[in-house]
């Protein structure tokens, strides 16, 4: 597919990497030739220098035969204008624009026809939504929902005290007493899709599939007391903080934002009436103690500096804060971080990248394509949700008779409101939802791709 990307920033390059890997033809538009040269060196793309909202630049970039236009420059206004212009030049074009300013949020949705926007992506809002979900599911490092929230894939780090430490997977149900399935494990930066003989060790990151109730039960049985956060401390007062507070206040949590820029503090105090806004430097430990880090149930670090976020999260951990979430913008795949106690990691650009990727996949394969795609374990594992239709093979057959590819695992089957963690006798029928876990290096586009034959 021919795709135009405007803007070679964080999201632009993240998308370029993923989309070229999937075999699309990419043209990158950016004002800065330095950025473009860098892109040319790293990826197999062509580039056009100039303003992406101008007709002549779009013409040169070949908007007329493109199928998809992604506007990801750092200015919302340029993105909107670029989508409008591109759509005007090629009415069949699908356009995705990054619109981040909360003030434009409503019009980017309700007036998307006027702007020629097929989809508006808001990385900050997505990140905030992810963090809010994490805080609503305490105990886990990441949470992904499938089948309208009936099935979750969660990430759990095993520490030395965990009763699962040293247990064989086949014996796990004796401890957890709940219907759960381990669909992937990360160990020393390696991703493994385990079988029954796999033995859990300290520092493993386990990915479980189960229903929310089963997950709660499991946590109880392995002695992790998970109570939902009441007091949340947020370091940094950017857009994510704004969206996050808006979401958390809906579920009744008390939020405190620390921000070092006084003017921004006043703005926040203005738009977030319920939230406590504190002006001060969150990198100072004294200040953190004074404002009650130790009394918080959760600490979320959302400053603009990855290093600062890590330091604050580490400190929060030493103060026994039960939930810590760290935002990383550049260092998200740094392996050194795996050994650090910085809690769950959120990367806004990856989240936005995945959501665009999901859209591109769906565009490419209208029939039988995944309802949703989630990348877990640092992007190395994909969890996909499919709907079983009349073209799906092996419907109604017991799974023990169905041969799937070696890197594929059927994680759960959702049928008529009931979730089944599959065994050899399980089967799926037309209308069911199937959640499949696979390694990200060999993506699947259609449910039939998982079968060996």
């Amino acid at each position: 597919m021919k795709i135009l990307i405007a803007g070679g920033g964080k999201i632009g390059s993240c998308l370029t990497e993923q989309l070229t890997n999937e075999g699309h033809e990419l043209t990158v538009i950016d004002c800065s030739t330095a950025v473009l040269e860098d892109m040319m060196e790293k990826y197999d793309v062509i580039t056009v220098a100039g303003n992406a909202a101008s007709m002549s630049v779009l013409e040169t970039a070949g908007v007329k035969d493109a199928e998809l236009f992604i506007a990801a420059t750092d200015m919302d206004e340029v993105n909107m204008l670029a989508c409008m212009t591109a759509h005007g030049m090629n009415p069949k074009l699908t356009t995705i624009g990054r619109i981040r300013n909360p003030e434009y949020r409503i019009q980017a949705y309700e007036m998307r026809d006027v702007f020629g926007l097929t989809m508006a992506v808001n990385p900050e809002k997505q990140a905030a939504h992810e963090i809010a979900r994490l805080l609503n599911f305490p105990g886990f490092l990441s949470v992904d929902s499938f089948a309208k929230g009936n099935v979750e894939i969660v990430e759990l780090k095993i520490d030395a005290k965990n009763p699962l430490n040293g247990t064989k997977l086949s014996k796990m149900s004796d401890i957890v007493h709940a219907q759960v399935l381990v669909c992937a494990v990360q160990r020393n930066g390696q991703t493994i899709m385990p079988d029954g003989n796999f033995v859990i060790r300290e520092n493993d990151q386990l990915f479980f599939t189960a229903t929310p109730t089963n997950l709660t039960q499991m946590l109880k049985n392995i002695g992790i007391i998970a109570k939902k956060a009441k007091r949340v401390l947020i370091a940094g007062g950017g857009r994510i903080s704004y969206y996050l507070v808006k979401e958390l206040e809906k579920s009744g949590m008390d939020c405190t934002i620390m921000e070092s820029d006084e003017e921004r503090c006043h703005e926040l105090a203005d738009i977030l009436p319920e939230c406590t806004v504190i002006h001060g430097d969150a990198s100072s430990q004294e200040f953190l103690d004074m404002e009650g880090v130790g009394d918080s149930d959760a600490v979320v670090t959302l400053t603009g500096l990855d290093e600062l976020n890590i330091v604050i999260s580490l400190y929060a951990n030493t103060r026994n804060v039960s939930q810590v979430v760290t935002k990383l913008s550049h260092a998200e795949n740094n392996k050194i971080l795996d050994s650090l106690q910085i809690g769950a990691v959120i990367s806004p650009k990856e989240l936005a990248g995945y959501s665009i990727l999901r859209y591109v996949r769906a565009m490419q394969n209208q029939e039988g394509s995944a309802v949703s795609v989630h990348r877990i374990a640092g992007g190395k594992i994909e969890a996909l949700e499919f709907k079983v239709d009349k073209d799906t093979k092996h419907r109604g057959e017991p799974l023990r008779n169905v041969k799937t590819k070696s890197n594929v695992l059927i994680a759960s089957i959702f049928s008529h409101g009931k979730v089944d963690i599959p065994s050899g006798n399980s089967r799926f029928n037309e209308g069911d939802t199937v959640i499949v876990v696979t390694t990200a290096d060999a993506p699947i586009y259609n449910l039939n791709d998982i079968f060996e034959d």
């Binding site: 006084e262 006043h266 105090a269 203005d270 009436p273 406590t276 806004v277 504190i278 002006h279």
Partner: protein, 488 residues
Amino acid sequence: MRNAMNYKLIGKILGFILIIEALFLIPAWGISIGYHEHNAAFSILKSQIIILLVAAVLVFVTRNAKHNYYAKEGLVTTGAAWILMSLMGALPFYISREIPSYVDAVFEVASGFTTTGSSILTDVEAMSHGLLYWRSFTHWVGGMGVLVFLLAVVPLSGKNEGFTLHILRAESPGPSVGKLVPRMRQTATILYVIYIALTVLNVIFLLIGGMPLFDSVCHAFGTAGTGGFGIKADSFASYSPYLQNVTTVFMLLFGVNFSCYYLLLLKRVKDVFRDEELRTYIAIVVISTLLIAWNISGLYSTFGETLRHSAFQVATIISTTGFATTDFDQWPAFSKAILLLLMCCGASAGSTGGGMKVARLILLFKSGRRNFHQNMHPSEIRKVRVNGASVDEKVMSSVNGYLVAYVFIIVVSFFLVSLDGFSVETNISAVLATFNNIGPGFAAVGPTCNFSAYSNLSKIVMIFDMLAGRLEILPIMVLFSRSTWKKN
């Protein structure tokens, strides 16, 4: 470089104001003729001629005034206009010798224009109908403001049309005054239409209760402007309970921010009832009424009567009207304490009432709470919010500044008035009653007494207090500030 004050334009506007005042005297003249009061009619005619002559001189001298006009001019115009209006409006009383002292006459008219309702008359019922009407009519004019009226009828605006906002700001009560619609003329018209409609409604309700037409109109004027001049020696005591209750309701209505009525016209009922100031205002009225009713329950025969007197007095004080149905000076100390506090509290911003204004009290309370909180959490940033929207820090500091000026004026006035040798209660309530535009105070200036015993100096101090209170201090203070008159 600062702009030199545009004296010519100020003079021109003052000229227009005087013409309007002369025109406003016509009905009073007609009524005098109707009641065959030839002395009064002749005095009014003479006053009109004097006023028109002064106006003609002013307008002629300033015929080529330039239209550059800023906040300072707006304040000076407003302050000067009100003083001039009072000086000229006193002429009919003085010329007719119905009030022989000119200071007394000015006090009476200033008390009228500022909607105070404090009187120096020992026998109201001896006055001629024409002048009684003029006395009540000054309340009605002063309630909404004569400059606002000017904005509604006279095409003053030239190139620099924004200046009219300064006038609206200077003359309308409340911490933050804005327009209702984009055009100033339309805003002023809307305000006056609401004002006239409510006044007419009030007259109709009084007529239904059997009050004579002349009495109804005069009382409706007194109620609408939240003034309080009656035409009977015992104010409202001799009227029927129905008439008293109607007046209670209308006094409270005129103490509500007029933009609430505008919102009602736009059918935004929800916004009106979510308004914090309106809610607080209603809460204060209800709680005060009940507390006083409980406190005075032994004084009247039935509970209904107790409640009626309690509600009437609360309404008359909080709306800063100043009628009375009973001598509340005889009430127990607790009830008088509540009334004294209500005197300072005053009506809503943007109403015709005076006092501190409920909106300012809300802001002061919230800013106090924030200061208290800030002491314990020095780095926390908090906004003061009213109706969900955060209040600009400029407004906050102007409200704090207002409080300082308010207290300062009360202290100085109290000090000066005390020279006359009345009791402390008399003096403090006299200052509060005039400065907050209420009317009667306690003890020697209670509802059955009057202000005539004070010396001329005290009367002038109180005239100043009334004007300062009505115009919310600034426009009057500006006239006495050196920096206003200094040339660049």
